[in-house]
């Protein structure tokens, strides 16, 4: 029995050995031999490939994923193309369009109560968020809502609520980020990180940061007490607007945070000096 140039003995060997390579090249192979043998062999090995993920522990998806899928089939917005900042945000569960009216007033009341227990500058921030919610609620009262408008307002409300859940928490920690390069001194960007008491949910507000240079992106890093720098994702500010990021996860032992400029898509570790950096944490009771 002679081997071919690549060492395979039979057509079946070639099929079995190369199938994953072909799939990784984006090709669904056709059988080399027409007829029962070739087609059934190919089918068998394809089914083996299809069986492989069954070894993994199943992971139940979030109910919101199915809801978004079904909404997209109905043409109620389709798969949402997240803004880059939403890619590391969007942790707050979506709510039924019909349900938001029920919690708008309790939310406003909760906000008012929460205002009593926070420091002044945090209060200012919360008031801004409260105004935003009031404006959105006003829109909903006066506008004869089309489904698209409702979805947009709902999304904005959800985002506002996510930020407020961090801001309004008792024991929130605040860390200011400062520019690290002198050339930025004329119009320096500023940023403030709010971390909820669970040390997982966080909200970062960045002002004055220009859009990233072409082919570059800003990347956020959490620096742990073990010295590792863990990426929290990339983002690109819109011109003239505040950038707001939020997420539900933060590495354990985070002691500092920084923002660097990296190639599009991000880097596995910072490749440039921090543009903004902060490691002084103040706790607001």
């Amino acid at each position: 029995m002679s081997r071919d140039q690549e060492g395979f003995v039979t057509r079946e060997d070639r099929l079995a050995g190369d199938l994953l390579d072909r799939l990784n090249e984006g090709v669904v192979p056709a059988p080399e031999i027409r007829g029962d043998t070739g087609e059934s062999q190919l089918r068998s090995y394809l089914e083996i490939v299809g069986l492989l993920p069954y070894e993994l522990d199943p992971v139940q998806p979030s109910p919101a994923t199915k809801k978004r899928l079904m909404a997209s089939l109905s043409g109620e917005g389709g798969i949402r193309v997240a803004r880059q900042e939403e890619r590391i945000a969007a942790w707050w569960p979506t709510r039924d369009a019909s349900g938001w009216r029920k919690w708008a007033l309790p939310l406003a009341a909760g906000l008012y109560l929460a205002l009593l227990g926070v420091s002044g500058w945090q209060r200012v921030e919360m008031e801004r968020q409260q105004e935003e919610i009031a404006q959105l609620a006003g829109h909903l009262r006066v506008v004869n809502l089309q489904s698209g408008e409702l979805a947009r307002y709902q999304q904005e409300l959800v985002e506002a609520q996510a930020k407020l859940s961090v801001l309004a928490a008792s024991g929130v920690e605040v860390c200011s980020l400062y520019p690290m390069e002198e050339r930025l001194a004329e119009a320096p960007p500023t940023a403030t990180l709010f971390v909820a008491p669970d040390h997982q949910h966080w909200y970062l507000r960045i002002d004055g940061l220009e859009p990233s240079p072409e082919d570059r992106a800003y990347q956020l890093w959490f620096i742990t007490d073990e010295g590792s720098q863990v990426s929290a994702g990339t983002f690109d500010p819109r011109p003239g607007s505040r950038t707001e990021l939020t997420s539900e996860t933060m590495p354990g032992g985070t002691i500092a945070v920084s923002i660097t400029v990296e190639p599009l898509g991000g880097s596995p570790e910072p490749s440039s000096p921090p543009l903004l950096y902060g490691d002084e944490v103040m706790r607001i009771l």
């Binding site: 060492g7 079995a16 394809l46 299809g50 998806p61 899928l69 997209s72 596995p268």
Partner: protein
């Protein structure tokens, strides 16, 4: 002979449930409830796959959603002679996940970060499909664990990492011929061991 798709999703042993292929035909007919049913049958396995490839829950759920949207749009392209519905869904999801992985010019998360994050799994009622899913999981786990570690390694790098055999050889320092041999042996062993499962899908 009309193929019978007895995947866990199809509800083997429960003839009252609609066959996976019937569901796909209903999707071609723009029945949204058929997508919902197919999703309920396969989403937990497909999400596990996407998470294994990407190591990130949010990305994995996005891929899952995109995959089912592709099913909705391209159900008519499914050819029952080429593969079972289950395998077709796996190939779609894996392909999208690998594309997403490659589109990250560099991996966004360090290995440490990926290991820290656990996939968020939500509870769902246990049904016939779950029992069959767990049985298939048990069988695959059993057979995969019988593979020598070096064969399992190349299979995982190729399947979950999207690496070609040449790339695996380069990454691991193992000669290309050895990588090919290990892949071939692993595939042939699985084919021999999983005859019953393959038969259920044909």
């Amino acid at each position: 002979m009309q193929p019978s798709d007895n995947s866990p999703g199809a509800g083997s042993g429960n003839p009252s449930r609609i066959d996976d292929k019937e569901l796909l035909r209903a999707i071609v007919g723009r029945k949204q409830e058929a997508v919902a049913e197919l999703y309920d049958r396969f989403s937990s396995m497909l999400l596990a796959l996407a998470y294994r490839v990407l190591g990130n829950s949010q990305d994995a759920e996005e891929i899952l959603q995109e995959a089912f949207l592709q099913v909705w749009n391209q159900a008519a392209r499914y050819d029952p002679k080429r593969s079972s519905v289950s395998t077709w869904l796996v190939l779609i999801t894996r392909s999208r996940a690998i594309d997403r992985l490659r589109s990250r010019q560099v991996q966004m998360r360090t290995v440490t970060a990926a290991q820290q994050e656990k996939p968020a799994s939500h509870t769902s009622p246990t049904g016939v499909g779950d029992v069959l899913l767990h049985e298939r999981q048990r069988r695959l786990g059993e057979e995969m664990s019988k593979l020598p570690p070096e064969q399992r390694q190349v299979l995982e790098l190729a399947f979950y990492g999207g690496s070609t055999q040449s790339e695996i050889a380069e990454e691991t320092g193992i000669p290309l011929g050895t990588v090919k041999t290990r892949t071939l042996l692993a595939m042939k062993k699985l084919r021999a061991a999983l005859q019953e499962e393959i038969g259920d899908l044909l």
